[in-house]
C-alpha cells in the first residue's frame, strides 16, 4: 500500500472550498428554517399536537410551547452566523444543538436529510470552516490560505457515505425486480406536463428509474472524486435532484445536496466564487493572509473523527441484529440512508379493555393525534407502542380501572395486499420499549431479498 497516513494528515489544501461550503450551508439552513416557519409547520407539527412521539432515550426532549418559535429563531440566527463566519465555532455548536433538539422533539417528522444535517453540523464543529473569507478573519485580523486536507475530505466522506449507502439500500428485490415503490408513485404523477400521461405510466420507465437510481447513488461519490468525471457527475447530480424534486415533495433536500457536492470541485473554482462575492459586495481584504492554519488538538481530534466515521459506516448495518423483515418491522431502519424505499400505509385502531370486567371500547385516534401523526403511527411499531402507553396512562388517569391496550393493525407494504401487523392478543400496555426485537409484530408473509 502506498498510502502514508502520516503524510496524508500533514498535507494541506486550499481553505476556499470549505469556506464556500460553510457559506452555502449557512444560507441553505437559513432558508430551510424560514420556509419551515412560513409553511406554518412549527404550529402544525410542534405546537398543535397534544402528544409527541419521542426517540427512545430522548423522552425529555419536547416542544417548548410558544418558546418553540424562539428555538427556531436561535437556529436561524446561528445559520446566518455560520454563513457570515461570525463567531463560527459558537454558531455551529448552537446550530447543531438547536437543530438536533428540534429534530428530537417529535419523531413523526423524521427525515433522513434532517439526520444528515445534524451529522454534518456536528462534524463541522471540528472543522476550521472560518479559516478563510469569514467575518472572524476580520475580527482576528488573520486569515489562512490553507488548512489540513482531511478537513475538506471529511465532508466529502460524509457526503459519499450518504449517497453510497442510499445506493446499497436500493439493492433489494422490491426496488430492482418489482420496481416498487416507484411503480406506485410514478403513475400517480399523471398530471405532470408532457411525461405525466406517457412516460410515467410505462412499466419499463419504472424499472429504468429504479435501476438508474441505484446505480446513480452508488457511483456518484466516485464520479465526483475524479477530476475527469467531475463535471459529468455534477450534471447528473443536478439532473437527478431536480427530477426528484419535480416528482416528490422533498422540500429543500435536493438543493442542499446540489450545493453540497460543489465541495468536490477544485480550489480555483471556489476562489472564483469568493472573488465574485467580493466583487459584488465591494469587499477589500485588509487582513493578514497567513499560509497555514494549524488545527488545535489535532492529535486527539483525528482519532475522534475516525471513530465517528467508523460508527457511521457500521450503524446502518445494525438491522442484521434483528430478526424479521427490515421493511416490515423497521427495526434498524432509521438513520441508515434508506430513502424512498417504502410505500407503506397502516390502519391501526386501539381498544381499551378492562382486564376484570372485559368491557372495552375503541379509541378515536383523531382525539389524540394529528392526522400526520396518525399516518406515521399506523405502520411503525415503536410509534404504536409509545402511543399505546400514552393511551393506557391517559385512560388510567381518567379513572378507568385495570386498563389493557390492544391493537388491531393492518399494513400494506409496497403494493402488497394489506395484512395484519400487530398481534391483537397482546396487551401493549405491558410491553416495554427497548432496542430488542418486538415479538408482538406479526411476521411478514412475503420475502424481500437484498441488503
Amino acid at each position: 500500500m502506498g498510502f502514508n497516513t502520516k503524510a496524508y494528515l500533514q498535507s494541506k489544501t486550499d481553505a476556499a472550498p470549505l469556506a464556500v461550503f460553510r457559506i452555502l450551508f449557512g444560507i441553505m439552513m437559513l432558508f430551510s428554517i424560514i420556509r419551515f416557519w412560513a409553511n406554518g409547520w412549527i404550529d402544525k407539527l410542534y405546537i398543535k399536537p397534544k402528544f409527541h412521539f419521542s426517540y427512545y432515550g430522548f423522552e425529555w426532549v419536547k416542544p417548548l410551547g410558544d418558546y418553540t418559535y424562539l428555538l427556531f429563531i436561535i437556529c436561524a440566527v446561528a445559520a446566518l452566523f455560520i454563513a457570515l463566519g461570525l463567531k463560527y465555532r459558537m454558531a455551529i455548536i448552537v446550530f447543531f444543538l438547536s437543530f438536533t433538539y428540534i429534530e428530537l422533539m417529535d419523531k413523526t417528522t423524521y427525515l433522513n436529510h434532517y439526520y444528515f444535517i445534524s451529522l454534518l453540523s456536528f462534524l463541522m464543529i471540528f472543522l476550521p470552516a472560518n479559516a478563510y473569507f469569514s467575518v472572524d478573519n476580520v475580527l482576528r485580523k488573520a486569515s489562512y490560505k490553507t488548512i489540513p486536507k482531511w478537513c475538506v475530505d471529511s465532508v466529502k466522506l460524509l457526503l459519499g457515505i450518504v449517497y453510497f449507502y442510499a445506493g446499497l439500500a436500493k439493492i433489494n428485490s422490491d426496488w430492482l425486480f418489482r420496481a416498487m415503490p416507484l411503480k406506485i408513485w410514478l403513475p400517480s404523477k399523471y398530471d405532470l406536463p408532457f411525461i405525466g400521461e406517457s412516460l410515467m405510466q410505462q412499466e419499463w420507465f419504472h424499472y429504468a428509474m429504479s435501476w438508474s437510481g441505484m446505480l446513480y447513488d452508488l457511483a456518484i461519490p466516485f464520479l465526483l472524486l475524479y477530476k475527469r468525471t467531475r463535471w459529468f457527475a455534477f450534471a447528473l447530480v443536478v439532473f437527478f435532484h431536480v427530477f426528484t424534486r419535480v416528482l416528490f415533495p422533498i422540500g429543500m433536500f435536493p438543493f442542499i445536496m446540489i450545493v453540497s457536492t460543489l465541495i468536490f470541485f477544485e480550489a480555483d473554482f471556489h476562489n472564483k466564487i469568493i472573488n465574485t462575492i467580493k466583487g459584488i459586495l465591494k469587499l477589500k481584504t485588509t487582513v493578514d493572509l497567513k499560509p497555514v492554519l494549524e488545527v488545535k488538538r489535532e492529535k486527539a481530534l483525528v482519532p475522534f473523527l475516525t471513530v465517528f466515521f467508523v460508527i457511521q459506516l457500521l450503524f446502518p448495518f445494525r438491522y442484521v441484529l434483528y430478526q424479521g423483515e427490515l421493511f416490515w418491522t423497521e427495526e434498524g431502519f432509521r438513520f441508515s440512508w434508506r430513502v424512498m424505499l417504502l410505500e407503506k400505509m397502516g390502519h391501526t385502531t386501539f381498544t381499551i379493555k378492562n382486564a376484570k370486567t372485559g368491557a372495552s371500547f375503541v379509541v378515536r385516534n383523531r382525539d389524540f393525534l394529528s392526522s400526520f401523526q396518525e399516518k406515521q403511527m399506523s405502520f411503525q411499531p415503536d410509534f404504536i407502542l409509545e402511543y399505546a402507553h400514552y393511551l393506557g396512562d391517559h385512560f388510567t388517569s381518567q379513572g378507568h380501572k385495570n386498563v389493557q391496550v390492544f391493537v388491531e393493525s393492518y399494513v400494506a407494504l409496497n403494493g402488497r395486499l394489506s395484512q395484519p401487523f400487530i398481534d391483537k392478543t397482546v396487551d401493549l400496555y405491558k410491553e416495554k420499549e427497548s432496542f430488542c426485537h418486538k415479538a408482538w409484530i406479526l411476521p411478514f408473509t412475503d420475502e424481500i431479498k437484498g441488503l
Binding site: 409553511n39 409547520w41 402544525k44 407539527l45 417528522t109 427525515l111 433522513n112 436529510h113 411503480k183 406506485i184 408513485w185 403513475p187 400517480s188 404523477k189 399523471y190 398530471d191 406536463p193 408532457f194 411525461i195 406517457s198 412516460l199 405510466q201 410505462q202 412499466e203 419504472h206 463535471w231 450534471a235 443536478v238 439532473f239 431536480v242 427530477f243 415533495p249 422540500g251 429543500m252 433536500f253 460543489l262 480555483d268 473554482f269 472564483k272 465574485t276 430513502v339 424512498m340 410505500e343 400505509m345 397502516g346 390502519h347 381499551i352 378492562n354 368491557a359 372495552s360 371500547f361 375503541v362 378515536r364 392526522s371 400526520f372 399494513v411 400494506a412 403494493g415 395486499l417 394489506s418
Partner: protein
C-alpha cells in the same frame, strides 16, 4: 467557471425538458383517462342523485303543505312516506361533501342524529329560532322530522293531536314546515351550484393534488364509509366507542322504529354503486374507482382489488341483512349482530383506506410536510 456551473445546470434543465417532450409521442396503449371518471361521477351519479333528492323534497314540501292545512291520519301517512322516500335518496348524496355542500356544512344540517328533542321542543315553545344556526344542526333535517312525525307523542292519535288540538298546535306545524322548507332550500342551493358552475370546476380539476376533485372525492367517500356508515349507523349505537355502554337511541330514524336497516342498506348500496361507477338512474356503468384500480393493476401486477372490495361489501351486506329492521331492538336484544356488521364494514374500510388509497397513491387528508 461559475458560468460553467450555470450552464451545466441550464443544460440539465434543457435535457430534462427535452426528454419530457420526447416521451409525449409514445402513448401507452392502456392509459386511463381520469377525467372520464370525474365526468361519470358528476353527470351520472352526483347530479342525478341531487336532482332526485330535490324532487323528493319537493314532494315532501307538498305533503307537508297538505298536512299543515288538514292534519289527519291520511295526510300524516302521506307525509311519512314522502319523508322516507327522500331519506333513502339522501343516503346517496351524504358522501359528496364537496363544493357548496362542504362550504355550507350541508350534511350537518340534513342528517345529524340523534336529534335533540330538548332543542326542538324549546324552539317550538319559544319560537324565534334560526334553523340556519350551527347550534340548531341537531334540531333540523331528517332526524328532526323523524321526531316530529313519529316521536312527538306516544301513538298516531296523540301525534295528530299535537298538530290539531294542542295549545301550541300552530307552533308545531310552523316548526315542521320550517324544517322541511329549510331542507329543500339547502338542497336547491347545492344542486344549483352543481348544475350552473361547479360541475365544470369539478370535472376539470384533474391534477393529483390534495385539493383536486379525485383526491377530495376519494377522501369524502372513504370518510363517509368510515364515519357516516360504519360508525354512525352501527358503531356508536352498538357501543364500540363507549366501553360496552349501548346507545339504542342513537340509531338512525330512532323514532320511526322500523327503517334504520333500510337506510343503512341503502347507504351501502349507494357506496358500492359509487365505487363501481354505476349510474344513479339506471344500470349503465361508467368509469370509477373499480376501473381505475383495474387499470393500476395492469401496471402493478397487483391483486384484484376491485373484486376484493366488492366481495367484502357483499359480505357486509349479508351480515347487515341478518340484523333486525329496527336497529334499536337489535342493540337491546342481541348486540353482537350489530358488532358483527360493524366488523365486516371495518374490513371494507381497511381495503379502501389502505389498499385502494395506496394503489392510487392519493394522500388521505394528511399534512403537506416534506418526505424523503
Amino acid at each position: 467557471m461559475i458560468k460553467k456551473v450555470v450552464s451545466v445546470v441550464l443544460l440539465a434543465l434543457v435535457i430534462f425538458a427535452c426528454s419530457s417532450s420526447d416521451g409525449g409521442e409514445s402513448k401507452p396503449k392502456d392509459n386511463f383517462d381520469r377525467q372520464t371518471m370525474l365526468v361519470n361521477w358528476a353527470d351520472n351519479i352526483i347530479i342525478p342523485a341531487y336532482e332526485d333528492l330535490d324532487s323528493k323534497l319537493g314532494a315532501l314540501v307538498a305533503a307537508k303543505n297538505t298536512f299543515t292545512v288538514t292534519a289527519n291520519q291520511t295526510n300524516l301517512e302521506a307525509l311519512r312516506i314522502a319523508w322516507l322516500d327522500a331519506y333513502k335518496v339522501w343516503q346517496h348524496v351524504e358522501m359528496f361533501n364537496i363544493g357548496k355542500a362542504e362550504v355550507d356544512y350541508y350534511s350537518a344540517y340534513m342528517n345529524i342524529y340523534p336529534a335533540s328533542v330538548t332543542e326542538i321542543e324549546s324552539n317550538i315553545a319559544n319560537g324565534g329560532y334560526d334553523l340556519a344556526l350551527a347550534n340548531n344542526q341537531d334540531a333540523a333535517g331528517f332526524p328532526a322530522l323523524d321526531y316530529l312525525l313519529y316521536g312527538v307523542a306516544a301513538d298516531d292519535n296523540a301525534i295528530l293531536a299535537m298538530y290539531t288540538t294542542n295549545a301550541n298546535a300552530d307552533g308545531y306545524k310552523l316548526y315542521l314546515s320550517d324544517v322541511v322548507n329549510e331542507m329543500k332550500s339547502l338542497t336547491e342551493a347545492v344542486l344549483n351550484d352543481w348544475t350552473t358552475s361547479y360541475r365544470s370546476t369539478f370535472v376539470n380539476s384533474t391534477a393529483n393534488t390534495t385539493t383536486s376533485s379525485t383526491n377530495k372525492i376519494t377522501n369524502d367517500f372513504i370518510y363517509y364509509f368510515e364515519k357516516g356508515l360504519r360508525a354512525n349507523k352501527f358503531g356508536i349505537p352498538a357501543g364500540i366507542f363507549s366501553g360496552g355502554v349501548l346507545y339504542p337511541e342513537k340509531v338512525e330514524a330512532y323514532h320511526n322504529q322500523e327503517v334504520s336497516k333500510i337506510l343503512a342498506l341503502e347507504a351501502l348500496h349507494a357506496s358500492q354503486d359509487f365505487f363501481n361507477g354505476k349510474a344513479y338512474n339506471g344500470t349503465s356503468d361508467g368509469n370509477s374507482f373499480d376501473d381505475y384500480l383495474d387499470y393500476l393493476q395492469t401496471i402493478t401486477d397487483g391483486e384484484d382489488l376491485t373484486a376484493l372490495i366488492n366481495n367484502q361489501m357483499n359480505a357486509a351486506r349479508s351480515q347487515i341483512q341478518t340484523v333486525d329492521s329496527n336497529f334499536s331492538n337489535q342493540v337491546n336484544t342481541d348486540n353482537t349482530r350489530m358488532t358483527l356488521s360493524y366488523d365486516e364494514l371495518q374490513k371494507v374500510v381497511v381495503l379502501l383506506k389502505l389498499d385502494m388509497v395506496q394503489a392510487m397513491n392519493i394522500s388521505v387528508d394528511y399534512i403537506d410536510a416534506d418526505g424523503d
